[in-house]
Point group: C2
Chain length 118, copies 2
DNA sequence: CTGCTTTACAACTACATCGTTGTGTAGTAG
DNA sequence: CTACTACACAACGATGTAGTTGTAAAGCAG
C-alpha cells in the first residue's frame, strides 16, 4: 500500500473522515468489546456504562463507515467487526504514544532514549 | 505492541485524542508536505492554499501532540516530522478504504471480491 | 529609528459532534 | 389485544473545532 505523492485533497479528506470516526473513546471501546464476537446493543451500552440511545448512535456511525456490520434477530441487533484493520491502527497509535512517553521519561531522567532503554 | 484487554477508558481517550489530531484534511496534507523535509510556515500555507494564521494554528496542534518539531531561524519557523509512524497510519487507513471500495465494486458487478480480483 | 517580513496569539463566527430526552417501531409474552 | 423489551430516529443544549480577521512580537533591511 503506497500513498500517492502528493496526497490529493480528496484522499486527505477521506482519510481524515475515517480517522475521526475511529477517534472517539466510546467507539474505540465499543470496537474493543466486539473483538470477542458480535454483541447486541444493550449489552454494549451496559458494558460501556452509557445509555442505549448513545450506544446505538455510535454503532450507527461505525456501521455507516463500514467498520462494523449488523444482523437482526427478533428485536435484537447484533453488531460485529467488519474491518479488522482498525486494531492494527490502534496498536500503531499506541506505539507512537509509548515512544513519546519513553522520550518524556528519558528527558526527566536526563538521559537519551537509547540510554534509558538499557 | 499488544493492546491490553479490555482497553481501559483512559487509554481509549489517549488513542482517540491522537486520532483526532491527525484526523484533519489540512493536517494530513501538512504532514505529507513535510515528508520531503522541514519547511517554514509560509511555504506550507502557500502549498495548502490557506492563510498563514490557519497553517500556524494547525502546526501548533501537531507540535503540541509531538508529531512535528520546530526550530526557528531568524523570523522563520521550520517544522519537521518528529513521528514517522503517522504515515504507516495513513497507509493502513488507505488500505481499509481500498478494501471497501473493492467490495462495493464487487457488489455492483454482482461478483465476490475474489472473483473480481482475477 | 522606520518599514517590511514572518510567525503566533486572541476574538469571533460558523459548523460539527457528544450525550440526553422524548418518542416511534417492531418483535414477543401473557 | 395489552404490556413489555430492544432498538433507532429526531430534537435539544453544551462543548469543541475550523477558518477568518485583527494584531502583537521578533528579526532584518534600508
Amino acid at each position: 500500500m503506497d500513498l500517492p505523492r502528493p496526497i490529493p485533497a480528496d484522499l486527505a479528506e477521506l482519510i481524515a473522515q475515517r480517522l475521526r470516526v475511529i477517534g472517539d473513546p466510546l467507539r474505540i471501546r465499543t470496537l474493543d468489546l466486539l473483538r470477542d464476537g458480535e454483541r447486541p446493543v444493550s449489552e454494549i451500552a451496559d458494558a460501556l456504562g452509557t445509555s442505549q440511545q448513545n450506544a446505538s448512535k455510535h454503532l450507527g456511525v461505525l456501521l455507516q463507515a463500514g467498520i462494523v456490520n449488523r444482523h437482526k434477530v427478533g428485536t435484537s441487533a447484533y453488531y460485529a467487526i467488519a474491518d479488522d484493520s482498525v486494531f492494527a491502527l490502534c496498536e500503531q497509535v499506541c506505539g507512537g504514544i509509548q515512544a513519546q512517553v519513553a522520550e518524556l521519561g528519558a528527558l526527566i531522567e536526563g538521559t537519551t532514549v537509547q540510554e534509558a532503554a538499557r
